[in-house]
């Protein structure tokens, strides 16, 4: 026990850097609402440069002042099996974090803290909407002490309730399970869906930029972009070529962004296992040291997009208790093991779910899914569109609408084909996808709620949709027979009845 921690502690003065960064990130996240009024002020003024400089100076002063005050009012201490935190400038927060409730304790070493031997201790609790506590800028030794104390406490509680031995808080008995090379990280970058975050983050910023400087952007495109594409020729073929080239460039940029993101987050990835927990180290500029109790894992998900399938790589996601109110796991509650080969999956699965069977017999969903999905989502809407075009005598457009609905049929069949479900030996499995796939494996006794739904269309064939709610998200199996759904439900109920082990 470190007795000094029982007195109120301040963060290091260098934590001001962390608070500045935090404020900047939140400002950029709300770029539109933050910068739009400022842009309006700049555009409306005659002395644009002076106004811009004044705005930058004012904003900087505000951010730095806010960071210093945040540092000043932030205090923490340990009291028994609790951490007490007081913070807030105008609105005072008094937080109490019980060691029992802690789900993850992660130690981050950002590049700007490294020379001073400081770290960020991130404490996450189950069911919370955000991180319960970020102790940023505390000495590495203090963070290690706090983490050991919390883990030891949890270990002793877990040993009392389920007979686990309380020996795995030491660093010595850890075994390296997975490491990821740079090649693996590139594979992860292109096989994960991180590519789409490029659009999510830069899309609104580009939109704001284009709206604010519409005139200048148009001139720039006319003067520089259009001439650059002139080699593709004039007329419609030139335009199509230009658009294709531009789309290819954006896709390339998306992949580059995703790969760089993967390298930033998972550089030097090492996953090691101890008796009852997993620990991973990764990160290029900021080193992340994260631990996860195996008992807290709710789902073992393997997923890959179409490129991942092509290069035979899958990403593993260990789902924990979700904090999102929409029932889907939030990003921070997922523990990712990047870019594994199919042959490496069973070993990792055994590590997390030791009793899971090697093979779970899987069934296809009913083929009527195809007809219903195709009719409701594509045929009927496109018929309405076509009818609208026919009244305007646009026969070509009406024909395209009909062709579009026909072209969607193979995709719907593909989607149906990818659905697979099954359960055996107290474990459930589910697969969905289109060109890529997502396979979820979960112990039946960890299921929170089960729902069987039947629409009027499904009733004629006694088909249903089965929704299985887990603490790490939801599994929805559409178009299975009522008998299969009831059997699944019964297996879940039996598993919960017979397995008294803690689910979390």
């Amino acid at each position: 026990m470190n007795n000094s921690l029982t007195d109120w502690q301040r963060l290091s003065l260098f934590s001001v850097i962390f608070f500045i960064g935090k404020t900047l990130i939140s400002l950029f996240k709300q770029a539109l609402s933050t910068f739009a009024p400022m842009l309006l002020i700049v555009l409306a003024s005659n002395k644009k440069l002076t106004v811009i400089l004044l705005l930058i100076a004012g904003l900087s002063l505000l951010i730095i002042g806010n960071a210093i005050l945040q540092f000043w009012f932030f205090k923490f201490r340990r009291e028994g099996e609790k951490i007490l935190i007081n913070d807030g400038i105008f609105k005072k927060n008094h937080r109490v974090i019980n060691f029992d409730r802690v789900q993850n304790i992660n130690i981050l070493t950002p590049i700007y803290f490294r020379p001073f031997g400081l770290v960020i201790l991130k404490i996450e609790t189950a069911g919370s909407k955000g991180n319960e506590a970020d102790l940023s800028g505390i000495p590495a030794a203090t963070a290690a002490t706090l983490r050991t104390e919390i883990l030891q406490h949890q270990q002793s509680v877990s040993a009392q309730s389920s007979g686990y031995s309380a020996t795995d808080t030491s660093e010595d008995d850890s075994k390296l399970v997975v490491s990821a090379s740079l090649k693996d990280l590139v594979a992860y970058g292109i096989s994960s869906n991180g590519v789409f975050f490029f659009l999510a983050i830069f899309g609104p910023l580009l939109g704001l930029f284009f709206t604010s400087f519409e005139g200048s952007t148009r001139t720039f495109i006319r003067q520089f972009i259009v001439p650059a594409f002139e080699f593709l020729g004039d007329g419609s073929s030139g335009k199509v070529g230009g658009i294709l080239l531009l789309v290819s460039f954006v896709i390339l940029l998306m992949f580059l962004f995703s790969i760089l993101g993967a390298i930033y987050r998972y550089y030097g990835y090492k996953l090691s296992s101890q008796q009852t927990s997993l620990k991973r180290h990764s990160g290029l500029l900021t080193r992340f040291e994260e631990s996860l109790k195996i008992i807290k894992v709710q789902t073992f998900v393997t997923q890959s997009n179409f490129i991942g399938r092509w290069i035979h790589r899958q990403n593993i996601i260990l789902g924990q208790v979700a904090s999102s109110h929409l029932g889907q796991p939030s990003k921070r509650n997922t523990f990712i093991i990047p870019a594994r080969k199919q042959s490496q999956i069973p070993e990792l699965r055994k590590l997390v779910f030791a009793n899971a069977p090697d093979e779970i017999p899987e069934h296809a969903i009913d083929r009527r899914y195809v007809l219903k999905t195709w009719l409701i989502w594509f045929v009927f809407p496109m018929m309405l569109v076509a009818a609208n075009y026919l009244t305007q005598q646009s026969y070509q457009a009406a024909g395209i609408a009909v062709l579009f609905s026909l072209a969607m049929l193979p995709l719907v069949i593909r989607r149906w084909h990818m659905y697979r479900f099954g359960h055996a030996q107290n474990y459930g499995a589910f697969q969905s996808g289109l060109f890529g796939f997502k396979r979820t494996l979960f112990p039946l006794y960890k299921v929170q709620r089960t729902e069987i739904r039947q629409s009027p269309l499904q009733r004629r064939r006694n088909l249903v949709t089965l929704r299985i709610s887990l603490a790490a998200g939801e599994v929805v199996i559409p178009y299975i027979s009522m008998q299969q759904a009831n059997q699944y439900l019964e297996s879940i109920q039996n598993a919960i009845k017979t397995n008294r082990a803690p689910w979390f």
Binding site: S161, G327, R449, I452, L470, Q493
Partner: protein, 170 residues
């Protein structure tokens, strides 16, 4: 043989389900009628101040017909609800056209809310809401229970979880 036993199982399964309180369908109708009444009042007030631009007079019968159908539907919908309290779990089924059957095991319930609004108090009814750890989509709400039954169910589940907690810590 197999299909016969399955249908038999299903029949037994259905027989175990209990209906909600006898006066719940009436309460459901009154609640729906009140909701429609509020919408109608707002529309009439807006129409009056805006010279019937929002709600043309000829649409009032159509509105009343829709409200009447909705009230009748709420009656039968409430009649179609039923629940089953097993030894280890709770099941609730509802729906006339879109049918739903939800199951939650006692040991997965995080906490229970028992609520009774002014109308429910008048009818001696209560609503039980069970929260699990699977997020907002994984809660279970059983309305229209006689207050005494709701309290008994809540106590039964609390006793169960308490006993389970004790046995796991012995």
């Amino acid at each position: 043989m197999n299909s016969q036993s399955t249908s038999q199982d299903q029949a037994t399964d259905e027989a175990d389900f209990l209906s909600l309180a006898d006066n719940y369908p009436l309460l459901s109708m009154i609640s729906t009628a009140l909701s429609w009444g509020i919408i109608l009042l707002v529309l009439l007030a807006s129409a009056y101040f805006m010279n019937w631009v929002i709600l043309p007079v000829f649409l009032i019968p159509a509105f009343l017909l829709l409200a009447a159908l909705s009230i009748v539907f709420s009656y039968f919908s409430a009649k179609a609800c039923s629940y089953r309290r097993g030894d280890f779990d709770l099941m609730f089924q509802r729906g006339l056209w879109w049918k739903k059957k939800t199951a939650v095991s006692f040991s997965r319930i995080q906490h229970i809310d028992l609520s009774h609004g002014p109308l429910e108090r008048k009818f001696g009814l209560a609503t039980l809401k069970f929260f699990t750890a699977g997020g907002a989509h994984s809660d279970l709400t059983i309305p229209g229970l006689p207050k005494a039954d709701a309290e008994t169910i809540r106590q039964h589940i609390l006793d169960f979880t308490e006993a389970e907690y004790q046995s796991s810590h012995e």
